[in-house]
């Protein structure tokens, strides 16, 4: 068998049903095999970055390992942002990049880029196959590494002569030998007991849970723990959906744009139980001011996350699901106490609201809240990055794990559309809604054609405020309203000191999203006033295929609550809203 055939055979044996990729010179042998492979659904995004994000979205929506196949040089470098995005959010992905022939490596050959060097710091593991005999083992190991322990992307560089080389004795290996890779899955019993003891005596315990709950499918176990102990829960951006939004002890997302109740609870708790999360700076604020009153316990599958940012009294290394299972067994029941009353009071007092006047411009919060009415219970909401992402985190009714996909760690603009596409391919029976801003949508806008051609029914809702809103918000609040390069209507004739839209600004906005949609074979809609929302959304969501809905929203709305960078998490700015 030839290397290229071995590769595809190995992928099929790993259960791969979908590949997102793009051909190129050194991959022709592989694509030649794909030509007659029926077991794999090949999706051809229009840019390799789209392919990488699509594989990522597929993985986030299904829990399976996403697969991305790109050519050498520019194909590989285009995929880099997607790989880094997956790394920061711990998504299981295998990226196979073509490479120039082993004889040409190091000669600056045509379309040669040092993919091993480029991806080293942005993936869980990478390697180059230089001998076809190593190919089967490498693929087997890559899938194992990507989707065990703390998941992450694994990048494989495949020189063209290896694809063409013959390996007559090919057999796909059944076992894996990786003496240097043995993730600790089962938590240490004594440590779990210590944690249970700490919960039993805590007066003000608080759960702080992240994406680890979702990747280890531990939502049910988390809910059981909460049912038994009545401990309030705050969930990070990556963990949204792991506990239903309407659970009485769910406090929402903590952090820079988190719910005030969650932030205040962090400040007041006496035991913080972190599960599958990593004390990101967007959550903690200055580390020496974070949870100063609390003992910290941390359950994580990655020992390097424990104690990385915050001193941890009770570390538990292990898989969230297995550890929580055990913890639920041994922890004592806990009755709601004054602390539960306190967090409920905080929750009531700091409810997120907005005030939509039917005759005014559309508030971004209002359109996002409206989406809730039109999507089925099991819909998947994907976001891009920026203000709309935070509003989506705040106002979408998160009901299930793997139903809110967002680039949290890397904050990659342009993630939304291709990731939604991947999610829709992976979950063909679920509605997939892509909420994004007008800036980010343009970063991978080419994937509209991919959606149209393959009839991938992503519903894109663009909140168009004509600005790069999140940066504009910081300029607004902390940089004297100097909107440097954040107005997307700005042209060379604009006055240099312009501080934002006013009556006299009659500049044209480009592109016309509805026309772009139509030009790509996607049905386009535009909503300009609150009264149109219901009718248009209803019609758009009925379309059997991809749609783009451009919503002209109030241009200068900022995301609140907000904890300014460098401030303690209880130093919250509430803005106009409460």
């Amino acid at each position: 068998m030839k290397g290229a055939e071995i590769l595809i055979d190995a992928l099929i044996k790993e259960g791969v049903d979908t590949i997102f990729g793009y051909p190129g010179g050194v991959l022709i042998p592989v694509f030649d095999v794909l030509f007659s492979t029926k077991e794999i659904n090949f999706i051809l995004p229009r840019h390799e970055q789209g392919a990488a994000h699509a594989a990522d979205g597929y993985a986030r929506a299904t829990g399976k390992t996403g697969v991305c196949l790109v050519t050498s040089g520019p194909g590989a470098t285009n995929a880099i942002t997607g790989i880094a995005t997956a790394k920061l959010d711990s998504t299981p992905m295998v990226i196979i990049s073509g490479q120039v022939s082993t004889k040409l490596i190091g000669t600056d050959a045509f379309q040669e880029a040092d993919m091993l060097g480029l991806t080293r710091s942005i993936c869980k593991h990478n390697c180059m196959v230089t001998d076809v005999k190593d190919l089967p083992r490498t693929i087997k190991e890559a899938f194992h590494i990507a989707n065990t322990g703390r998941p992450g992307p694994v990048s494989i560089d495949l020189p063209v002569d290896v694809s063409n080389a013959d390996f007559p004795d090919y057999k796909y290996p059944e076992t894996i030998e990786l003496p240097g890779y043995k993730p600790v899955i089962k938590g240490n019993k004594k440590q779990i007991q210590k944690l249970a003891d700490a919960i039993n005596i805590a007066k003000r315990p608080l759960l702080y849970t992240g994406g680890g709950i979702i990747s280890s499918s531990a939502s049910d176990n988390l809910l059981q723990l909460v049912e038994k102990t009545n401990i309030p829960v705050a969930t990070t951006l990556m963990g949204l959906g792991s506990i239903p939004y309407n659970h009485p002890y769910y406090l929402g997302m903590p952090g820079m744009h988190g719910f005030a109740a969650a932030n205040y609870s962090f400040t007041e708790c006496d035991l913080l139980i972190a599960v599958g999360c990593r004390f990101d700076d967007r959550i903690t604020g200055p580390l020496n001011t974070f949870v100063t009153q609390a003992k910290v316990a941390h359950i994580d599958i990655d020992p390097a996350e424990i104690g990385k940012n915050i001193h941890t009294e009770i570390p538990v290394v292990g898989d969230a699901k297995l550890v929580l299972e055990k913890l639920v067994d041994i922890v004592k029941e806990r009755k709601p106490n004054a602390w539960n009353e306190r967090v409920t009071e905080l929750k009531e007092k700091f409810k997120l609201t907005y005030n939509q006047d039917e005759n005014e411009k559309i508030l971004p919060q209002y359109i996002i809240d409206s989406i809730n009415k039109f999507i089925p219970d099991d819909a998947i909401v994907v976001t891009d990055v920026g203000q709309h992402q935070m509003w989506s985190a705040q106002f979408i009714n998160h009901k299930h794990p793997r139903s809110f996909l967002s680039s949290g760690g890397l904050g990659t603009m342009g993630f939304g559309l291709p990731a939604a596409m991947g999610a829709a391919v992976g979950q063909p029976n679920k509605m997939v809604v892509n909420i994004c801003g007008d800036g980010g949508f343009q970063m991978n806008i080419q994937e509209l054609a991919t959606c149209a051609i393959n009839n991938i029914p992503v519903k894109s809702i663009i909140l168009n405020n004509t600005y790069l809103g999140m940066v504009r918000q910081w300029q607004d609040l902390f940089w004297e309203k100097k909107y440097s390069q954040t107005c997307l209507k700005q042209d060379p004739s604009c006055p240099p000191g312009c501080t934002g839209p006013n009556g006299s600004c009659n500049k044209q906005y480009w592109p016309n999203f509805v026309k772009v949609a139509e030009a790509n074979g996607v049905k386009g809609f535009r909503i300009e006033s609150p009264s149109e929302i219901n009718n248009v959304l209803e019609e758009a969501f009925k379309v059997d295929g991809p749609v783009v809905v451009e919503v002209l929203v109030d241009k200068l709305v900022n995301v609140f609550p907000m904890v300014p960078s460098g401030k303690k998490i209880n130093e919250i700015i509430f803005g106009d809203e409460k």
């Binding site: 091993l116 060097g117 080293r120 710091s121 869980k124 593991h125 390697c127 180059m128 230089t130 590494i145 990786l178 003496p179 240097g180 890779y181 990655d302 020992p303 390097a304 104690g307 990385k308």
Partner: protein, 162 residues
């Protein structure tokens, strides 16, 4: 408080493993004082010995991150372990004149350093020993004019079985 730490890594001998290790340290903002990578009694296994400066917490984080590398078999910070042997090797060229030559040779003898090449204008010598001893010799030779030297960085081995 920052201090120097000697870390012994046992790794699988794969392409680029040294780059992975040093790259990881650079990526996380740690400065490497010295690195040695060399094969061991098992040709598939390499030992990498790193000297890194950092606080105890920094070093703990470094060792955890190094442990996560797929090719890493073992990471040991031996800095607070008395049961280990550390050596460093130096080749040094010092300037001499007719007048100072015997003085320098005498000094080398005290340190058990071995002259490798003695000429009209210089002496090249070698020495292995603890880093502190090497530092001291360098200090004492400075007044004669050190032409150049090259140090190996630290080698280490624990007395017990790792």
């Amino acid at each position: 408080m920052k201090s120097k730490h000697t870390i012994i890594l046992t790794v699988i001998n794969t392409v680029g493993v040294l780059t992975r290790v040093t790259g990881l340290l650079a990526q996380r903002g740690y400065n490497i004082e010295s690195t040695i990578a060399a094969p061991t009694e098992n040709p598939n296994i390499y030992k990498i010995i790193l000297v890194v400066e950092g606080s105890a917490q920094n070093i703990e984080q470094v060792t955890k991150q190094l442990n996560k590398l797929i090719d890493t078999l073992k990471v040991t910070d031996i800095s607070h372990d008395n049961n280990f042997i550390v050596r460093e090797y130096i080749i040094l060229k010092v300037n001499v004149t007719k007048k100072t030559r015997s003085e320098v040779l005498e000094l080398l003898e005290v340190f058990s350093a071995r002259p490798l090449d003695v000429s009209q204008s210089h002496i090249i010598m070698e020495l292995s020993g603890r880093a502190k001893k090497i530092d001291r010799l360098i200090e004492l030779l400075k007044p004669y004019g050190i032409n150049e030297y090259v140090r190996s960085g630290e080698f280490a081995m624990t007395e017990y079985d790792m």
